[in-house]
C-alpha cells in the first residue's frame, strides 16, 4: 500500500499558491532566500530539510502567521490564486480563513470538543443556525476520522483526548472553515507511531478536497504522504519536484546527501 502511494501521480495541475523570489528576514538575519515554489491543488506537498533550514518559517509565511513576530519581514511575491497575500489591502484574517494551519504540538482550546470544531465557523459567521453548525462539526469530525471516537462525548473538554486524537481534533478544527489550503507544521512530531499512522492516513484522505502542505522531519513520512517534495537547506530551496523523483533520483548533490543521511 505504501508503495502504491509513492507511485501516485500528481492528479491536478491547478496552481493554488505561487511563490516567486520569496525572501524572509528576521531583523538582519536573511532566513529564506529566493524561494520559488508552486503549491498545487489537491496535492500533498512536503517540505523537508535539516533543522533550522527555514522550512517552517516559509510555511508560516504562506498564511502570514509570521505577522505575529514584529521583527519578521517578507519580500518577493507570494500569491494565492493570483492575488498577492502580502498586498497591504489583504486582511490576514480573511487569508487565514482560506489557508488553514495545523501546528507541531496538538493545541486544542480548553473548550469542549464541539466548541473546538465550531470555533472557526462561528468567528467567520459561516452558518446561519445551530443545525448547520452541528452538520459542519459532524462532517469535519468524520473527515478527521474522529467522529466514531467522540460522537457520544462532544461536550467533553478537547484537552482530555489522547495526543493523536487531539491532533486529529485540531485538523478537524482547521478544516471546519473549509479552507483551500491546509498547512501542517510537523503535525506528527509529538505523536507516537500509531497515532502518526492514523494522521498520515488522514492526510492522504484530505488530499481529495484540499491542497495540503506538510513540513516534516521524517523523510519516510514525506515519501509516504506527499506527491511533491521541496528540499530546503540553509534557507535556500535546493530542489523541488515529484516526490518519487526526489527520493529516487535527486538532481542536486545536497539533496542526495540529505536523503542518504549525510547531512541533517
Amino acid at each position: 500500500m505504501k508503495d502504491q502511494r509513492l507511485e501516485t501521480r500528481v492528479d491536478t495541475q491547478t496552481i493554488k499558491i505561487e511563490a516567486r523570489k520569496a525572501q524572509v528576514y528576521y531583523g538582519t538575519n536573511h532566513a529564506i532566500k529566493d524561494v520559488d515554489v508552486d503549491i498545487m491543488d489537491k496535492t500533498v506537498t512536503a517540505f523537508i530539510g535539516p533543522s533550522g533550514c527555514g522550512k517552517s518559517t516559509f510555511l508560516r509565511c504562506l498564511n502570514r502567521m509570521n505577522d505575529t513576530i514584529p521583527s519578521c519581514r517578507v519580500e518577493g511575491s507570494i500569491t494565492l490564486e493570483g492575488e498577492s497575500i502580502y498586498d497591504p489591502r489583504v486582511d490576514p484574517v480573511q487569508l487565514r480563513a482560506r489557508i488553514g494551519m495545523v501546528f507541531q504540538k496538538p493545541n486544542p482550546f480548553p473548550k469542549s470538543i464541539y466548541d473546538n470544531v465550531a470555533y472557526g465557523p462561528k468567528i467567520h459567521g459561516l452558518t446561519r443556525n445551530k443545525a448547520e453548525l452541528d452538520a459542519i462539526v459532524e462532517s469535519c469530525l468524520r473527515k478527521a476520522a474522529l467522529w466514531n471516537e467522540v460522537q457520544d462525548r462532544l461536550n467533553a473538554p478537547g484537552t482530555g483526548l489522547s495526543g493523536g486524537q487531539q491532533q486529529r481534533l485540531c485538523i478537524a478544527r482547521a478544516i471546519a472553515t473549509s479552507p483551500e489550503v491546509l498547512l501542517m507544521d510537523e503535525p506528527c512530531s509529538a505523536l507516537d507511531p500509531i497515532a502518526t499512522a492514523q494522521v498520515e492516513e488522514l492526510i492522504d484522505e484530505l488530499r481529495s478536497q484540499f491542497s495540503v502542505v506538510i513540513v516534516t522531519h521524517s523523510m519516510q513520512q514525506a515519501a509516504r504522504v506527499s506527491q511533491r517534495t521541496a528540499f530546503f537547506h540553509l534557507g535556500n530551496l535546493v530542489e523541488f519536484g515529484e516526490t518519487g523523483q526526489i527520493f529516487t533520483n535527486p538532481k542536486d548533490p545536497r539533496t542526495e546527501s540529505y536523503i542518504s543521511g549525510r547531512i541533517g
Binding site: 498564511n63 480573511q94 487565514r96 501546528f103 482550546f109 472557526g120
Partner: protein, 482 residues
Amino acid sequence: MSLGLLSIILLVLAVAGYVLGRRKAVSQVEGDIRKLHSLPPFYGRITALLTAVPAFFLIAAWLLAQPLFLENKAISLINPAELPAGKSAQLVMADVRRVAAGLNMLAARGEDVTPLLASPSALKTALNGAGVVLETEPTPSTLAATAALRDAGKTSRLAMTIAALVLAVAGLAFGLSRINPEYRARNATEQFAMWLLIGSSLVAVLTTVGIVASLLFESIHFFQLYPISDFLFSATWTPKFGGGSSLGILPLLWGTLYVSAIALVVAVPIGLMSAIYLAEYASKATRAWVKPAIEILAGIPTIVYGLFALVTVGPLLRDYFAQPLGLGNSSSSVMTAGLVMGIMVIPFVSSLSDDIINAVPQSLRDGSLGLGATPSETIKQVVVPAALPGIVGAVLLAASRAIGETMIVVMGAGAAAQLSLNPFEAMTTVTVKIVSQLTGDTEFASPETLVAFALGLTLFCLTLALNIVALVIVRKYREQYE
C-alpha cells in the same frame, strides 16, 4: 545594669568563648590541627554559641514574661474599697504603671523620689512637671502598689542580669569542658544551627497560633457577655458606654461588602483590561515602563490613599455628584472609599492577571490566529477562558485585600453603621469598628471593647477563606500549564 551594657557583656563573653574554645582545642593537640576532628574555628564557634544564645533567649523571655508576674503581685495590693465607682482594678493598674514609669523617669534624672512616695500631692505635682498628668491624687493603696511594682521591677531586673550572666558563664564553661580532639565540633555547631533554623521557621507557625488564640480567646470572652446570635443577626450597631449596647455585625458587614464591591467594580475592568493590553498588544518598551508604573500603586502606603480620599476624592464627589444629585452631604461615603480602594487594588488584579495571561501557551494563540481569528477574538474566546481560573484567583485575592483594608475606610467611609443602598452616604466597615472600639476609652473587659475581637475573628475567617480558595485555584492553574 542597662540592657545595652548587659548585651555588650554577653557579646564579650561570646567572643571570649570563641577565643578560649579555639585555643583549648589547638593546645590539646599541641598545634597539630590535623589531629582535631574539626577545624579550630568550629571549637570556638560552638563555645561562643553556647555562651551567648541561651543567655539572650533568657533575656527575651524574661522581658516578655516579667510584667505579667510583677503586676499580679502589685494588683493584689490595691484595696478594692478604694476603687472609684465604675473602675476596675485593671484600670487602676494603668495608673500604677504610669506613676511607676514617671517615678523611674524622675529617678533617672537624678532626683530623690523617696519623699514623693510619702506625699500623694507632692507626687502629683512632681509628676505633672515631668509630663505625667494624673487626674486625681493617687490613693495610698495605689502608692503601695506603685512602690511594690517599682521594687519588684528593680529586683526582677537585677535577677535577670544575674541569671543571664550566670547562664552565659555556665554555657562557656560547659562548652570548654566538652572540648577534646575527638569532639565533633563541626557537627555540634551545625546541629545547634539547625535547631536555630527550625526555630525560625516555627515563628511563622507561632504567629498563626498567636493570631488564632488571641482572637478566639477574647471572642469567647465576648460571647459570654453578649449573645452570639445577636452579634451575627442583629441589624443594629449602637455601642453605648453605660452598657445595653446593640452590637450587630450586619450593618458593618454590609458596609464592608458594599465598599469592596465598588472597589472591585473599579479595579477588575481596569486591571484586567490593562493586563490584557500589556500581555497581548503592548510593545516590549511600553510594557517595560507601564507595568512598573502601575505597580507603584501597590507600593504606596494605604495611609496615603486614606488622605487622598479624605482631602481630594471625598469633597470632589460630594460637591459634584452627591449634592447636585440630592444624594447626601457627606464627603466620607461608600463611594469615596470604594473608588479610592479600587485604585489601590488595580495592580493586585493587573499584575497577577498579567502573569497568568502570559502563562497561557503561545500555541493556543497560534491555533486561534491560524484559523483566522482576530487578536481580540483570540483573547476573548481562547486566552481569557484558558486563564479564567487564575484570573478568578487574582480577583479573589484583590477582594480579600479590599475587605481587610483599614486606613482607606477609616478615613474615607465614615463611622455611621447603617444598612443603606445610597453609595453617597457614610457607612462603616468591620475594620473601622475594630479600630474605633480598640482605640476608644472604654474599659477593656466591656463587651464594647471585646466586640472588636469578634469582629477581628470574622474578618480573619472571611479573608482566610478567600485567600485559601484563591491560592488553591491559582496553584491548580499553574500546574495545568507547567
